[in-house]
Amino acid sequence: MKNLKLYIVRALILFLTTALIACQAPKDKTPGWTSDSGEVRPGPNTGKAVLALLNKARQASKKGSLSAAESHLERAIRIEPDNPTLWLYMAKLRLYAEKPSEAINLAKKALALSGRGGQTSIASQHSLQSDCWRVIAHAQQKMGNLKDAQTAQDKAKSLSY
């Protein structure tokens, strides 16, 4: 009788542990990469509408709804297509959605746009570019291109102060 009780208690503990593990959200395997990395710093010239949409995108991505986040971001890009922050954010979402090659191209677009208008300070341009290279580094790593990942990582480092 006592054995049976012990058995039930053990089984219950085992079950609860398994359930707890199963309920946890799947973790991203890239070191240092979490859903919070989706945070972006919009530039000083970002309009109210875009800020509101960025906020919506952030809320959606926190809830894990990447496609809703992308939809909000697409609207933001339609309003401010030259805003590199938005493209960088999009790149981050794709990286998080396990689409590294798309992430690389979007990050390159953000790079191409950074400083295009020439109004922002060199420091903030470099900080954004550094973020872009970091996304590219992560994406290259995911794709198994370790050498390219290292090159991108080095560029990211050289641009951050």
Partner: protein, 765 residues
Amino acid sequence: MKKKSPVRRKKKRAAKKSSRRRINKKLQNLPYMRIFLSLLLIFISYVIYLDFEVRSQFDGRKWSVPARVYARPLELYIGKPLSHEQLRFELKTAGYRDTTNNNKAGYYQKSGNSYRVVIREFDFWDGHQPPRYVEIKLEDGFVSNVTDFRDHTDIAEVRLEPSLMGRIYPSHREDRLLVKLRDVPEHLISALLAVEDRQFYSHYGVNPKAILRAMVANIKAGSVVQGGSTLTQQLVKNFFLTKKKSLVRKFNEAIMSLLLEMHYEKEEILQAYLNEIYLGQDKKRAIHGFGLASRFYFDKPVYNLELSEIATLVAMVKGPSYYDPWRHKKRNLDRRNTVISLMQQQGSITAYQAKIAKAEPLKVLARSNKISSSYPAYMDLLRRQLQQDYQKEDLTSEGLQIFSTFDPYVQKIAEQAVKQKVNQLDKQNNLNGSLQSSVIVTNTNNADVLAVVGDRQPTYAGFNRALDALRPVGSLIKPAVYLTAIQQKNTYSLASIIEDKNITLKAQDGKLWSPRNYSGESHGEIPLFKALISSYNQATVRLGLSLGFESIVKTLRNLGIQRDIPPYPSMLLGAVTMTPLEVTQMYQTLSGEGFITPLHTIRKVLTAKGEPLKHYPVKIQQTIDETSVRILNSALHEVTRHGTASSLRWRLPENLKVVGKTGTTNDARDSWFAGFSGEHLIVTWLGTDDNQPIGLTGSSGALPIWADIMKKIRTRPFSFAYDEKLEYHYVEETKGYIVDEDCSSAAYLAFRKNAAPKDNGTCIK
């Protein structure tokens, strides 16, 4: 729901078969009985077949609901370029009505520069937008304020719900809006039963009395003149059978009606009837069901219909064309009042209600409201893109909601420009109406296709030239040659000197080929940019030959051209055929500064219930370094200032910077212009279908249409990229020397850092 399971039916069938076998043995010696039994067997088999038909079709009835295609929603936020004219157009297109004092969704009122709009609620792909009470203020062509006019709070961004711009029909072009029986007003049911089938709730699918009455009438007349059909029979007729009147069909109809009633509840049959019945025609579109008819004739949901409106619709069941309320007003009115009288007789309305309803005039919409716009060229492109992901049947019957990138305002402007200018140019050049045109407008930043015109009569759904006219592109190809040069950064800059001299080559047919410049003159040694902006043929051929075909074909690939390019010298001058859509893709990559984005018309597809089916995410790929493209674009900007398109300096407002390239083919058979602002890319083409000379160059034909559109759509000007890798200089056009910025004839050009010309020159006035 169903009254019998298939398993039970099979068992029964098996039992019947074995019992028949026993009887057959016993009655071997009775030939008449055998014949009778054989016939009975055939009859039973036939009924079983019909039973199968009825049930499989009714159960799996996929209401054929065409996919609905929505235009892009209008975004409203502070700083949005928006004119009064455009806002009013957008409101009208989305079905908003001007009012003086009505705070109901779907209405707006204007006072001064402000518009109070009650935006209808809408389920967008990214969430529900409740009704919004929005005040929009316009100043100097921009939105200067967006607030909630009830609580006076600021609104950062809000969307007008998108207008329905098209539907994708099956070949029979049935259209309907499904209704649930519980949403249908009681009066509609009672009217329908009073007129069409009083014994609906008591008969078994067929009403023998009514049939007998009809038969007598038909025999007397010698042909089929009267129907004794119940609603069930009418439904069966519409569902399963052909329109032809024959005895066999009548027989089938009766059996199938009985079977339908056996298996299904009255309510199910009634609901199916309400959605199936044919109630009118809108050109090629067939209006089916009370849900859509209610929208079509009264612009109301069915549950808001008033008694007299209900009677008008029920009146039309007997013959939608004969009782058409627009064409035969009196006829419909008389029939409508008969319906009302019948309702009163049946006790479903009082004498007083009947009197009031009969006194009302016909309340159908003004006829002009019902004619829906059609955009055949755009829909054609959208359909082709959809067919890559969907079966045709799914598109025409599943009621999908397709959110497109279509911009109704840009489309309107493009259509107007084509209609006006093509007529005018056709007359000027005595082309007897044969001059044709196509226009494509896209967003430079995300490759949204905003507008497509495929015919000089834009609503004509025939040959779609924007997609299918395969024409030589002429000088439109030249930017690919110069871009190839610019990419060789150690060899070429925009100021590099190249030669514009006679040249003779062996063409593909073995004959000698000596390209000439448009003016007939050669210009000797000139800077690279000058050859591009003035579109010199000899210089381009010489440059192309030194670069090699392979590298130029590679550039074309990187610009998004997938078609095979013949490696002949004449290719360098655009003896390559492409469709306007392909040209647009090529220039899209230039406007995207080296990033390819496939042109697309679809943003999102949802199911009929609003569940997301497919997202079409932004897809970009960098194929050319942005610096090279930026350098090229600075030269293409000069095309519009000092080059072949310099008329744009007076055609467009001064601050509207654009870039572009003209294209003219041999003997002026094709006139092209492709170019973009900071927001819109437009490609215009002119020519005739039988490839006749039209007497127009790119700058005298396609350019004015292009400019007309660019001027009228609100667009951001093209802007130069000032980044770390580039420097800009004013350059004169003879030697490529740097000059002062006050030199008005000088070109403003981009160079790689430290690769600008070293020599300073004097300004040539």
